[in-house]
Symmetry: C2
Amino acid sequence: MRKLDIPAIQHIATGAALMGAGGGGNPFIGKLMAISAVRQFGPVTLLDPSEVPDDAVVSSPSGIGAPAVTLEKFPNGSEFKLAMKKLEDLLGKPITAVFPIEAGGINSMMPLVVGAQMHLPVVDADGMGRAFPELQMSTLVLAGHKICPIVMADEKGNSVIINTDDPHDAEKFARAITVQMGATAQSASDTTTGKALREDGVTGIMTLCEKIGTLLSAVSQYPTVADALQDLLQVTHGYHMMTAKITDIRHVTKGGFNFGTVIFNGLDEDQGHTGQLEFQNENIVFKREDTVLATAPDIIALVDTETLMPVTNEMLHYGKRVFVLGIPCNPKWRTPAGIKSVGPRYFKYDLDYEPVEDRVKAFRSQTVEAVK
Amino acid sequence: MRKLDIPAIQHIATGAALMGAGGGGNPFIGKLMAISAVRQFGPVTLLDPSEVPDDAVVSSPSGIGAPAVTLEKFPNGSEFKLAMKKLEDLLGKPITAVFPIEAGGINSMMPLVVGAQMHLPVVDADGMGRAFPELQMSTLVLAGHKICPIVMADEKGNSVIINTDDPHDAEKFARAITVQMGATAQSASDTTTGKALREDGVTGIMTLCEKIGTLLSAVSQYPTVADALQDLLQVTHGYHMMTAKITDIRHVTKGGFNFGTVIFNGLDEDQGHTGQLEFQNENIVFKREDTVLATAPDIIALVDTETLMPVTNEMLHYGKRVFVLGIPCNPKWRTPAGIKSVGPRYFKYDLDYEPVEDRVKAFRSQTVEAVK
């Protein structure tokens, strides 16, 4: 158990923007909301999952919708209070702690906002170990836990309660309401027990994000950016897949999602090569020429070549220079059910999932062969 | 207070199909459901509005969605039990009576289904005195009563609860969920008091529908169909606007609504004339050549030229011979707020509302002029 101060929140937001795989929303907005809540209501307690009683009632407050829209439609803070209150009424008992459903720029911060506002501790565990675009894409759902009841709320004081045992129906209903609420909405969902979250969530994610954020805040103190990148890869167990400049972006917002393709031209040691990234809120597939180097559920993250700061998808622009990183996902996702739920075929790519470490190693050994 | 037997239910369904202004869904389906419920659970009590205690808790069970789809996706009966149970849980008290939100083929029958299933009386009042396509289009909403909470349920046991003070938001949210539930869903909503329903609803609508249905069941006993039509016009205070054959129908289902245009060629005394009807679930505008003869909120109804049976919009087909009738709406709709809510401009027609009786009289006097 420890108190999160404002620098810790800043670091968590930065780290979550990286682990968010390009999605999860703008890290600055989430961070500003969390910092403002902590300034107003006092610091938030982070609980190690081992400290949460087995029978604790834990729920996840989160934003739903197209992250690009959150830039223009900022939650006013009352949405979560309404959603949490309605959820407690439904449960007939108080919620004892909150947790982030995903590690992403916005949703890693929402439990901190609610934790500060409602004086509830936040558990150091999430339901993805990264960000994903749909509600049913969580290790909690994978383990058989329910998303519902979901309480959704908007800035006008409207609320909608969704009850279904089918996680895909839950996602469909929530998405339809999100669109009607103006493309973003706030929610409280995924109520479970302390024991279930500890066993079926991704534990330690907030601490990992904080560690990443702390490292990235100190990049300028490294002798070279390459040294800092090495440390980042070590902390995340990640791979550097390409150094590149963005040369094209196709991007649409459709049905509450951001869809897009990013085209890269290689720089430095990757000069003369091209890369392509497909995203659906989050980054899903990255390839160099025709070789796929990483797919969901592994994490494809872009970072700035000078600062190593994560580049989320609403920050993409022509000419941006990035390192493209591949980070292994939590092993809970690497089961047949996990791959079915969030692997490339779910996102309509005709590709089998292979772990990013295998893909990158195979690519590197081929490249060495070719050079010989 | 009286018991409704199966013939009474059949007559109400027929009358409601006429008052439903082309919309409100297929009368046979609603009738079959109500009759089957009464056979299984016993007859339903119809309460005169004066018999309902002032503080009675009254709610309306109704179907939402594109009526055309109900033909293929028949409610299984469990949806209303779920919706009513959830609504009672939310209210924290039992519902003491139900009422139809609209007079239409399906929604005039749903309270009878629920009344039989749950042994609740049905109040002889609705919220429209006809059918309309959107939830906020009720004289109850016009008088300031709330639609929410709305509990929606589908055949899979899914439920969604909508809470908003904005009737247009309620409609938007319910429509979005209806689409996700497969284009039709069942709901319980518009909870109010006995006093409010008596004062702000359209009272006597079930009895009027029954009277119309009884008359239409006896058409073959009249010397001529014209005699029966005269009686029908008298009972409904309606006007015969055209005798015609359907020569074209354009029809789409979009976002949970049926939209369409029907083209008529005149028959008999209207030979040589053309007519055009625009509908959005319900009939909204009818004109002969370029002269508008009726618009919402007045009721435009088609009836078969041989049987006088109402022809609802999913029963339209090329070659069908009909009388086009115009029936004055309940006076509650004829206020500036009522016209704004359900007049032709709301449905995007560049027309001012004028009472059907004024339009028809003006047209007839012009025609007489022209003949002179």
